[in-house]
Symmetry: C2
Subunit: 667 residues, 2 copies
Amino acid sequence: MHSGNATLAGLLARDGSPYDVAAAKVLVAGVVAAAPAALEGDWMALFAPTPSPELRLALQQLAAELAAAPMPASPGPGERLALLRAELARRGMHGFLVPRADEHQGEYVPLCAQRLAWLTGFTGSAGLAVVLPEAAAVFVDGRYTLQAQAEVDADLYVRCHLTEQPASEWIARTLRPGEVLAYDPRLHTIGEVERYRAAAETAGGSLAPLPDNPLDAVWVGRPPLPLGPVAPHERRFAGLGAEEKRQMIAERLAAEGVDATVLTAPDSIAWLLNIRGTDVPHTPLALAFAILDRDGGVELFIDRRKLLPGLAEHLGNRVRAVPPASFGAALQRLAGAHRRVQLDPVSAPAWVFDQLVGAELRRAGDPCQLPKACKNITELDGTRRAHRRDGAALTRFLAWLDEAGAGDLGEIAASDRLEQFRREGEHFRDLSFPTISGAGANGAIVHYRASPQTERQLAPGTLYLVDSGAQYLDGTTDVTRTVAIGTPSAEMRDRFTRVLKGHIALAACRFPLGTTGSQLDALARRALWDVGLDYDHGTGHGVGSYLAVHEGPQRISKLPNTQPLLPGMIVSDEPGYYKTGAYGIRIENLVAVTPLGAGEGRERELLEFEVLTLAPIDRTLVEPALLDDAEIAWLDAYHARVFAEIAPLVDTATRRWLEAATQPLGA
Amino acid sequence: MHSGNATLAGLLARDGSPYDVAAAKVLVAGVVAAAPAALEGDWMALFAPTPSPELRLALQQLAAELAAAPMPASPGPGERLALLRAELARRGMHGFLVPRADEHQGEYVPLCAQRLAWLTGFTGSAGLAVVLPEAAAVFVDGRYTLQAQAEVDADLYVRCHLTEQPASEWIARTLRPGEVLAYDPRLHTIGEVERYRAAAETAGGSLAPLPDNPLDAVWVGRPPLPLGPVAPHERRFAGLGAEEKRQMIAERLAAEGVDATVLTAPDSIAWLLNIRGTDVPHTPLALAFAILDRDGGVELFIDRRKLLPGLAEHLGNRVRAVPPASFGAALQRLAGAHRRVQLDPVSAPAWVFDQLVGAELRRAGDPCQLPKACKNITELDGTRRAHRRDGAALTRFLAWLDEAGAGDLGEIAASDRLEQFRREGEHFRDLSFPTISGAGANGAIVHYRASPQTERQLAPGTLYLVDSGAQYLDGTTDVTRTVAIGTPSAEMRDRFTRVLKGHIALAACRFPLGTTGSQLDALARRALWDVGLDYDHGTGHGVGSYLAVHEGPQRISKLPNTQPLLPGMIVSDEPGYYKTGAYGIRIENLVAVTPLGAGEGRERELLEFEVLTLAPIDRTLVEPALLDDAEIAWLDAYHARVFAEIAPLVDTATRRWLEAATQPLGA
């Protein structure tokens, strides 16, 4: 070792950093534990207001060393399970619940909270393990049945279907009388706790909360909490100032007699305060909790080390950033003062309810969720711009792919190239999710993620499905195109055209205010149903504004959903068809719910969809005989618009390709 | 008075009747209090196995006298309310809940249970009154807002919208601390009781059950309990014998570890035991309760006086008909023996739960509901025959109407004529609901019922809407046709054609097993949505087999519903459009869910609808330019089928009219 530490100490001191070397190393480790995007931004400003080139270099080296450091040798899955059981025994407990969720109950979980993956090896985005003294089980839903079989050791865990063999039934059957099943109350909703308590009691046992997580105590090499830099989300992108948002929500709470609301969803906090972070991959969240008072003041429970310079001014003096460790005490103060507190039982952890005993609770949805879902004019303008940029990148990729053709191109090289095109766009920050780049049979795996072991070449006579998107400062994109490599079969064209008919039926429909996504879902399936086909996923999900690519409360799905589609909501329109072992088809555009405006003779307030996504749909896969006049007119008009908006943004060769790709069907 | 009583006594004795004159009079009064259809069947067989002509005459005279007897003078609504309040005070209670429902929670309520109507004057099919010492309110849903305003005295009752101003909120606001709100536990589900208890406790008061109904105690001239004759429903119509049904349901219960189930829905009991009654208008129910044991035995709680000769043999020795008064004791026996009892929390009254304290309860849906909804081959064959007969009657009516034309025909004369045609059909027993016969603006009132005060003439340039149906031994029908009187306007044709497009979209759709009616509902609305129109009712309801014209659990509606459509289910397809003050349009056929059978390339098990209803759709109201080729082909094929099936059943003049009415659209 040379004198790196001494040098770093000097540089930190010279640049006015509040951190000594030890503290700086901890902070760098936190940045490294955050999303890769954290290291792409100006994370070094966390260390000093204007870090010198020398300090920058030193920090960069430190980060590179930490990122490259070998993971500590981790025990095998059997030993992990044994360690957890021993720790439970030490605490007088018999069993433990290990959910996929972290304390925010979101889809995006930092590395340090991926307890289920560490313990069992299962890396899917939803699931639960139950560990008992002599048995253990992993519960996953239908999407992940195959993956769990591949990832989870059958000698250690029974692998069960989440809804067909519910965990509560397994517990009721397997826990023995007198045994205590423990849980971490920060990781479960009250509904879950009630369900598992009933199951434990049916077995003659009991359920008990633990003050800290026994798995964390035995997790060798657990990554640190992420400390991804948090930056302001500028008003020119957000449309509304954070103060206006706080006042708006606070006034609603006050009008309903509520004193304060507890926010546990980081995307709600990001929306409310106009801040964006880098704690988890692909979604610009800052992990935090918050309490919003009826007078518009906010206590923000967040690690202050991750706030970039200027963020305090951005937040203003009505938002107090305080350490996460003080969250419990703040909740207890609300309880002690018998305040009327609104809390979302679906997303808040049981631990928050426990702290609030004594308060007057109002169980109601997160008050930021609906205003966040209904984008304002600025956000809609931003998303239109982001979609033009994204469409240009995707068009360049599609033109390149057509050129590259059926050479020996693989799935990973293809998606890398697409990412490269996107990165050249203004305001690009990250992909919005890991690209699904599926050639041939891999396209039929709905949640496919290419790896060197699984990837296929884009071979002639097959289909290539690419589902991808990006986070731009002015909008989040998500688009799927399916492309014929070489000449497609008649069956492929038939299936593609039926998927397209469903896509158009949804995109072109008008519906009265009050209509839910559940009511519209069948429109996208009918052409497949006609010939006995269907797809086993939802038709559309909500999308955030430089936020989560999956957001609620709206949804277009077979499952009942009572949230009407409202003006400003962004949803995806993505029917598909999957032939296992052969090919997959999906056509996905994002659309925005839009009022139709006045019209003669209309008795209901009508809504329609504005298509946001701009990229050609492969005409060689369309069988015109299956389309009616209105469908052909829709496709031709869409392609004319794609050409008009994208052509000015691309090079001449791409423009020529695009011109051909967007010709009317009859041409 | 001449010696009628002496004569009757002698006749009863001579014919071997078990009744003396006093008992016979009570029984006749019960038959008179039943549905009008009770007096059309062989009700006199209740009195003696083979009543002589003289006894028949005497009974007929007695029934006529009772039916013609003037209603006892009833106090006005203000006095009724005062009487109820005084009775409550006498019992130390402060308030009382008066629901529309009777103890079976069904849509069809006998006269003696129409407590809400007697107290408040409101005659709609759903609602609730809450009576407190100094305030009272009536809660009705959107269908009945206008009707409640017309029927309920605003000086006595606040009139509220059931969902927008819920009764629980009104109670929480209006009940005073310490006051006791009483309820009749036979008339409410446990969900209602929990809701009203929470409301009363929020107000600082309490909710208390009463052992008997205080309103009944002050109801002057309350009709007796109906004693409509109960007859076997023959196996040639039912398809399955009652014993097979009992065994099938009992085996399912046993397999699920259930000892017995309590049936409180009379249509479930009618289905299970293959019996039909005449207690309520238009639906052949016998009011009763039942307990089905896991070994297939049944205790049937029913007034045995209403069982026609031969019914005991039909029921067999595994079904014990016992007095309704013994129902409570039977439930308590189950509780005392700690039996595992299945009960439907949605339809069973709270009183049944109260009697079962001590039993091990399994809350699950009525086990007869789904097998009843899925008609067997015999029932489907029967309904096809019934629909041909019904279609012939409706066709004769439509031809007659065209002939009668725009004379001075009124709504009541028209529907009387239609009923007359139906009555001539084989197996006709009753209408299946009061005919909706709406001319011009009356057609726009969705639940219109013509009266001499409201009826309109069928005037040229207007539309006439007729929604009607019948109960045949082999099937229940329900059909709506809208007819142009004279020349319709372009707007009428546009609207009618859009309703027709929705009707066809639903009738012609194919869908995979597992699809619910909620998923399909939008198909029927889309053509109206396109131009900003809609209709404020469901698109389809289930229909029984010589049973209720509205039955669950399936439903085609905007409201979420999780019951998949299954083979054998009968549902209506009835989109509409209503222009207030001008005209109403509805096109309703019944359809049966049918497996599509094998087909090349199908990956999902597909279902489709078989159209049951056979009557022409008014071609003069169709605007062909709005239909696509597939829609025109559907209509032409439907009309060709109507002609082929109905022409052989009608007279020459009608056949000629039908031939013209069913010409292809292009012709």
